[in-house]
Symmetry: D2
């Protein structure tokens, strides 16, 4: 196996700017780690904080030219759009409610967008972004980054190749514990905005983590959601939004399933999983052991496929940096996302065609909008006593 | 630790007879293994098959006196009731649709009943059995035998002791693969009757395995079901009953949950699990690794409690035969069920009080009826498009 | 699959007596559980304790005829040998140092022997027992009972069938924690005699558990030991015998290996494992998950074979009582041992041939003697600074 | 927890050059991934291949100034030593036999060294390097990079804090499968040089992977090796060097242990593990699940500590980039190594003191020499029939 160590990009790095992600933020730094891994991207501009002094200090720490550290994202969009060496894409890592307006500003400035999930906090915003992206003929990618895991991609490839036959059921779950106590009420910053309807949207648990489970189920299975019967609830008294979701799902092609999300489940730090049963076999992947893909063919003992190992397929090999059992993890998966995102955006800007097989691996604005529709449908169903509610988008 | 090896019952064995379980049957022999383990029970009579020659031959193999091998369960009930050394209890291991009539015959003959699950195939039968049992003042136990596992009992004890705080959510599942192919259409005996509405009832997957998951969730949590939103479906074309069930649950005390059952899931031979999240911690038990109980207290790393080990509580110690990591399994758990069942019935017949703590460990006719109600409510909800349907009994 | 539930032995039970195993003992009760499981054996006589009142009370509890409860094992041998309905075999579950004299008494009385391990505490005793057994033409079986596990037997069958090619290395280990503290010095009965040279022999850890690991490695691999380089030591100050052993092994056919045994390893209650690497594949079995056999073919992903599942071979199927993932455990494995032992002894007494394939599955006096030689060679090597010391027997 | 995302090093990057690691090499690219992760290091010069055209092309791909791409490592050392902006350290990723001469050249040129393991192929070279490093007062670090794992560092910290009491035994293993077939004879490049005595040294398996297990055991336990009894052998006929090693170990303070290494073990891609038993508890770490540390206190159930979780200690927190269960892996651990290495070398060059606690975390030339001594002692012991052979260095 030739490992895709993928360095050697000198002179061809994608120039990006970042909105959000200053000192005290969490996910922005994770994006930067992921971008840096394969040396395909350089961060040259930023509106890193709505607090000007934080923005400037954060930019300085990151070696960003002070002239390209902006206190305001609109100014950044306008200015960068006019520079010869302006950014080719913006990375948006703000709280949820800013995703739509910031994206809009950069799309209108003619700059491609890489935006964190959820795409927006309302369905109308999501629809508008899909339309605007098409109208401006830009690339708009959404960092539903778990799609970058090698074994997730292999699972998708195996399903598409018919390895498990016709899909019967999909069980997806994203279970965490970090909101078990009322830390939002106690002012913890990450918890506070995620449980605030004004910044997080109508559902906390689905917007924050449920959309990851939903997207992963769709990505691996190749199905789109058709209807949802939901039971959303709040385990912690006084919390302003839900923190648990139990869903029954109906997917295209007559596939049924369940999807659960919880942020109040002790013993589960960050437990994302997808299990798919088909007429000939099953696949199961779990984010806490991401190098493994459990595969059972009916009539044979189950086997655990290891990234880099004998059972790896092309989809996994293409994004393996290390041999089997030299574990790759979350940052590497995110790095895979960013490497492919950079390839797509560079090709788009160069006017060269992108391999559709690669384009399909990187969730875009439509995938993001599907996630927003998923949240909206689940909220509506739960309010309607679990009535099956349409969930398809696009 | 003094291990409950529990032999030494000479002269005090409970005399039982069996209906069903002749040659070619499966579960009857398993009951006999379980009964024999602790030497508390002797099998002295039987109507082992509706086929007289099978009945006689099966009885001979088991060393049953030919005079006490009956071709007909009604004759067995009447005759044994009149013998000085007649059976003290009957064990019923027939297909589902016979549970009610056979139980009725023995109750009416004044003989205690140990009946396999589900209690009956219709709710009206279940209600009648509950009433008849009370009226005749008999003991009627139902072999929801997974309650016999040491670590299941410890889980129940820990929940009751408040170890995980207030319960927030219960996730139960029973996943098998053995009906992945249409073996019922091909005449496989076990599959054939289990998917026949006339013998299995309205739901195959819930009557066969779903009730185990349901009962275990109730047993461990100490909750009773209040309402169900169900999606039942048949994965294998042409099958006469469902083979998959996806349920949202509401339990007493405001507890929510999910329950799934499947018999078409490759890679899962027999995968029963219950996971409970509470405000202070979580517990998870899985039938494929029954000696373990995963316990997480919020704020501490999860630990795996091992039967016989340092974290074992009294409930588990009482039914441990072997030291830690000398694995006990399915038969031992079933043996625990039978040992306690024998204790309860002997006490009842002797007119001595039974320790309520022990009585509560052995599911009875009311628990059996709750399972029948559970199936009926799920079937009704699924037909009603997933509408929340009342599921409480008694 | 037809499961070997194996009841129905009425009238053909093997009559056995037991020496040792009275109240307060541990392993005798475990033997009785195992014997009872398949209803092939009945316990009709005993010298259950060297304390006459304990012997009598223990016998009464077990329903043994008081006339056949003996205060002295020699009297038991003589008396039972003369009864028409005398025992066909004796089960010896005394401390180690009595194994040889008790076995000798019964062999000389013409009674077959089932003796716990180690066969004896000295090599000369072991050699004498092998010779006496041959001279008297009796069956002498040693309860190296882990050979009864279905997946251990399948591993043996797979090795013999060449599934892993030529064996390269064998790694065996038996790791416990129960002697981590000086409980022997504090009078704990089980610990006290096991660490007493007068009753346990020259090595505690090897006689108690090391011989199990050794026998299992030999049983699965089909190899015999040739030489040992050993490092035995005592972790707990003041203990009279070793509690840890680190061994390098050389087996027949040029196979190398390691073998470790410890009784002072926190976190390992009872952790017996054998891992074998061959030129084409590997097998690994672990007593804490005995239903599983990990099998890797070079060039394919490893698979976990489950007892009762699709990868089960004839050797495992023959001793499966339950379907896959209805876990069988320690008692069932011991029951397999006893069922085959009963078959062998009954055939021997009837003068009918025993299937050699079955005879090979039940360790006998020669296997027992190999274990004694193993202990002696390890002790000698350790004293000689780890020098390679011959370890073959017979 | 504040995560050590560690970017923001603009203007303070350590300037390094690389010897080896051109196109077609494996480990050089891995080093570059690790260096890049935290943006603390920039690669500005190289002698990337002994083949000049490969060297130049590789440098161009990496964006290295052509003027600083050297065809010869000696010229690189001399030239860089004279540049104002010359490299501050060299990273050596050549085959084993070049480690010593290349290191020597850079030490003599006054440039600090970061060298892959093993330090050298002979003990005399190792001794000379230790002496030269001291004489020239340079920093010489050896990439025994598994010491970079967060949970390895936590294990070391817990041992040092007395969490497991007095160490009794250390079991280390490094098991791979990639040399199961004679691929070295078939010309596979990585296999070919690693099994060539001229380039690998006296032992293949110990030089390639055994030293990692050895170093990790020493690093976590805080012990140094005193003596070795070894059995080295070659499983694959015709191979020029050993591919398997079974060792008994004696460590300082009376600690015993085993160490095994194999490159012909199917089912184990890359299975590095260390298990330590102490008088009060045990610790176990495994490279295939590096985010976990299994910890058992005697008297309590074992717990699995997760990087980033409630049981994480300062040593692990200092090098955590991501929250718990967002898996970090091999590259992140190597990145930790490089980040600390950069800190140490920058401080050394600035003449500022290095925190001794950090310095102790990064293996240096003495640790490297200990590994070479370990290999030499094992080879000598194996040749001497397993005689205990001194293994201490320095």
């Amino acid at each position: 196996m030739v490992y895709a160590t993928a360095d050697g990009a000198a002179g061809r790095r994608l120039r990006v700017g970042m909105v959000g992600g200053g000192r005290g933020a969490f996910i922005g730094a994770v994006h930067r780690l992921a971008m840096r891994l394969d040396d395909q991207i350089e961060l040259v501009a930023g509106a890193l904080s709505s607090d000007p002094s934080n923005a400037a200090a954060s930019a300085a720490e990151l070696g960003i030219d002070p002239a390209r550290s902006y206190a305001d994202y609109r100014m950044m969009a306008e200015t960068e759009a006019t520079r010869e060496d302006g950014i080719e894409a913006v990375v948006i890592v703000t709280p949820n409610h800013l995703h739509a307006p910031v994206s809009t500003a950069f799309l209108e400035a003619g700059i491609d967008v890489i935006c964190d999930k959820p795409l927006s906090t309302t369905l109308s915003e999501a629809e508008a972004l899909v339309a605007l992206t098409a109208e401006r003929r830009r690339r708009f990618l959404v960092t539903l980054n778990n799609t970058g895991y090698a074994m997730v991609r292999q699972a998708r490839e195996m399903v598409a190749a018919g390895e498990i036959g016709d899909i019967v059921a999909i069980h997806a779950a994203y279970i965490q514990d970090w909101l078990t106590l009322p830390i939002d009420a106690d002012g913890q910053k990450q918890a506070e905005w995620r449980t605030d309807p004004a910044r997080a949207g109508e559902s906390a648990v689905l917007a924050d983590i449920g959309v990851h489970a939903f997207n992963l189920a769709a990505f691996i299975s190749g199905r789109t959601a058709e209807a949802i019967s939901a039971d959303l609830f709040t385990a912690v008294p006084g919390r302003r939004l839900d923190d648990n979701a139990h869903l029954l799902m109906r997917w295209s092609g007559g596939v049924r399933g369940t999807l659960t999300a919880s942020q109040t489940s002790p013993g589960h730090y960050n437990d994302l999983s997808v299990r798919i049963h088909g007429s000939k076999g099953s696949l199961e992947w779990r984010g806490t052991a991401p190098e493994e893909l459990r595969h059972a063919r009916y009539g044979e003992e189950a086997r655990t496929i290891i990234r880099g190992g004998f059972g790896a397929t092309d989809a996994a090999k293409r994004v393996s940096r290390m041999p089997a059992a030299h574990p790759e993890g979350y940052i590497e998966a995110f790095g895979n996302y960013y490497r492919d995102a950079a390839t797509i955006i560079r090709a788009h800007r160069a006017g060269t065609p992108v391999d559709p097989a690669i384009a399909a691996l990187v969730p875009d604005v439509v995938d993001g909008a599907r996630g927003v529709k998923f949240v909206a449908a689940a909220v509506a169903s739960s309010k309607a006593g679990g009535a099956w509610t349409p969930a398809s988008f696009g």
